[in-house]
């Protein structure tokens, strides 16, 4: 297992470089222009000058090399400088966003707290409620609990968040006035009232996203449990006189987790990718909103950096999932 992990990690480097290249070329090929959001009153000659000032006059391989250099050399230098007060970077050019003309990593750092609070929390909540629901639904197949759970999760999954989000706002912000409809990213949680405020503004987006996540994960959990409940080893375990609790939680659950682990592991990078629509509806302005604004504005350095970080997370979490397979089912061998 260890050699497998090391081999995968080494292999990840060329994979990621290749992914970066593909993303860059994709953005290069995509129609669009950082000047698209400028008013039409700005004459074309001026726009051309602005493009040149953004460095768009250079050929693509130069710009890609520059980005690689900045991402892997300059940015870590700034990072070390920030930690130890050294001066490795020496004023080198960082990765600069086209839209804000500021270092993209500063903006990303600004966005991480609200994304973790809202999207991360909703994911945790979603997983925590999905697993028991999935297990109970499978054990008591076709009970009212199962049917109700199926109904709620199917509705939760098939009704888009742009609708549920607005529905919640209309009910709880406009009519009842319980929760704010606009997320305050500047709120600092340092005492009880501000914590309550934070909980209030998180409530609706977390609910919407948690419902969506829980719907998906609980379906896979239930299906996988059902598969295993019919297996021979379950009969054997029961025949040996084990209690139902031990049979379900120890034997069936462990064997059912493989597809669920895949789904959960695939979902974690998406937490960092943010929830584009939900963030938009509740004005959370996290990483998802940052990405979509950058895509609309053709802010190539920002999109490239964000998607690359996203790719790193995907590769890492897929590796974690693969390792977990081996832990959950010792028969799976990679070596």
């Amino acid at each position: 297992m260890l050699t497998y992990t090391i081999r995968r990690l080494i292999l990840a480097v060329p994979t990621l470089l290749f992914i970066a290249l593909v993303i860059f070329l994709l953005l290069e090929l995509a129609p669009g222009d950082p000047m698209a959001e400028m008013p039409l009153t700005i004459p074309p000659e001026v726009k051309e000058k602005m493009r040149e000032a953004l460095g768009l006059g250079q050929p693509w391989y130069v710009r890609f090399y520059l980005w690689l250099y900045q991402f892997f050399v300059v940015e870590p230098q700034y990072w070390i400088d920030g930690l130890f007060g050294t001066n490795f970077a020496d004023g080198a050019q960082r990765i600069i966003s086209f839209q804000s003309r500021s270092p993209v990593f500063n903006t990303i750092a600004e966005r991480i707290p609200q994304t973790l609070w809202v999207v991360g929390m909703s994911y945790v909540v979603g997983v925590l409620i999905a697993l028991p629901i999935g297990i109970i639904s499978a054990v008591r197949q076709y009970s009212w609990f199962d049917n109700f759970g199926t109904f709620v999760s199917m509705v939760g999954f098939s009704v888009p968040t742009f609708f549920t989000g607005v529905l919640l706002i209309v009910i709880f912000s406009v009519n009842l006035g319980w929760f704010p409809s606009i997320y305050d990213t500047t709120l600092k949680v340092d005492d009880w009232p501000s914590f309550v405020k934070q909980l209030k503004q998180m409530a609706m987006p977390v609910f919407v996203l948690a419902l969506y996540n829980a719907a998906q994960i609980s379906r896979f959990m239930r299906a996988s449990m059902l598969d295993n409940l019919g297996q021979d080893y379950v009969r054997t375990a029961r025949a040996k006189g084990m209690t139902e609790k031990v049979v379900v939680l120890k034997h069936v659950l462990r064997n059912s987790l493989i597809p669920v682990v895949t789904v959960i592991a695939l979902g974690v990078p998406q937490v960092f990718g943010g929830a584009i629509i939900t963030e938009q509806v509740f004005k959370v302005n996290g990483l998802g909103q940052l990405l979509i604004i950058a895509i609309h504005g053709n802010d190539v350095p920002m999109v490239l950096t964000l998607t690359f970080i996203f790719a790193v997370l995907i590769v890492v979490f897929n590796l974690i999932a693969d390792i977990l397979y081996g832990v959950l089912d010792p028969r799976i061998r990679y070596d």
Binding site: L11, L29, A30, P160, V166, R219, I292
Partner: protein
């Protein structure tokens, strides 16, 4: 299991699909789901012949009509000729639901089947053949990390005009959207299927099958695929829903069907702003999507039970 139509003397070799059907029939949810799915399919297919109102016909004097069930009990503008009311340009909502349903169902099913096919194929190949695993899973990582919007924009740029020239504007854009959704949504299925295959191929029955020299193709189709049916079924249900929703998100971004093609997702999206004043405009398309997905889910459940020989034998 009762032998029903078998006559004495003939060999009682019953097609196994009859067993499957018998089992399927006993699943109440699946039967109701199937009935509803047939109903909604007929609704959108036969609907235009029964309800001959042009969905795109604007009738500005009769805009914002309310549905009959509100009109009967409250003092609002309504009309029997527009039973579900009209939108802000006077287009008939019932006709739009019918026409929108055709497109949504077509997009949903085709994109779902495409993504399921790709996902299962790649998942099985990666899980079964060790040599392919690395390259296919790295490819999956790559596709997972690509941002959706630029991909679609690039596809639009490269293929819209050729497809439009070859198939006409409507079919061309349909192919584009379906393949766009399909090729960007298979990765979850692939990862899940691969994970399951990795576990199953170490089981004893696979070893047994291998020891009698079963070729890989038979191994996959007879021994492995049936055992990963249930996550595939779940993926299918979820995939149908997300394809219908993704289509509406695409229209919102200007990458979907032209604005004169209603779809359930788009009707829902366009009506969100007026949700408080005209709840029927979000409820009906929302119900159509949810109930379709729910019925497919129940059919999936029933099919899985019916296909599983361990349950069927009971």
């Amino acid at each position: 299991m009762t032998e029903t139509t078998q006559t004495q003397g003939t060999i009682p070799v019953r097609n196994q699909w009859w067993d499957v059907w018998d089992q399927f029939k006993t699943h109440r949810g699946a039967v109701i789901g199937g009935a509803f799915l047939i109903f909604i399919t007929l609704f959108v297919l036969v609907g235009p012949y029964l309800w001959q109102v042009d969905a795109q016909k604007l009738d500005i004097r009769n805009k914002d009509l309310r549905p009959f069930y509100i009109g009967l009990f409250a003092d609002v503008k309504w009309s029997w000729s527009r039973p579900l009311g009209t939108d802000h340009l006077g287009r008939d909502i019932m006709a739009n639901l019918i026409q929108g349903g055709q497109i949504s169902m077509a997009v949903g099913w085709t994109a779902m089947i495409l993504s399921l096919f790709l996902g299962t194929l790649i998942g099985v190949l990666a899980g079964f053949f060790k040599r392919l695993d690395g390259i296919l899973m790295r490819f999956t990582d790559l596709v997972l990390s690509l941002p959706l919007l630029p991909i679609l924009l690039v596809m639009m740029l490269l293929f819209r005009d050729p497809l439009r020239a070859a198939f006409g504007p409507e079919t061309g854009i349909f192919i584009l959207i379906v393949s766009g959704i399909g090729i960007t949504s298979w990765m979850h299925t692939a990862r899940i299927v691969r994970g399951d295959i990795l576990a199953i191929k170490e089981r004893e029955f696979v070893l047994a099958a291998r020891s009698i020299g079963t070729p890989p193709r038979r191994m996959i189709t007879r021994h492995l695929l049936p055992n990963v049916m249930s996550p595939i079924m779940v993926s299918a249900t979820l995939g149908l829903a997300s394809a219908i929703i993704t289509e509406s998100a695409l229209s919102f971004l200007g990458l979907g069907f032209p604005s004169d093609f209603p779809t359930w997702g788009k009707i829902l999206f366009d009506s969100v702003d007026r949700m408080a004043s005209f709840p029927e405009r979000v409820i009906w398309p929302g119900l159509c999507i949810s109930l379709t997905v729910l019925s497919v889910n129940y059919i999936g459940d029933g099919l899985r039970d019916a296909l599983d020989p361990r349950i069927r034998g009971l």
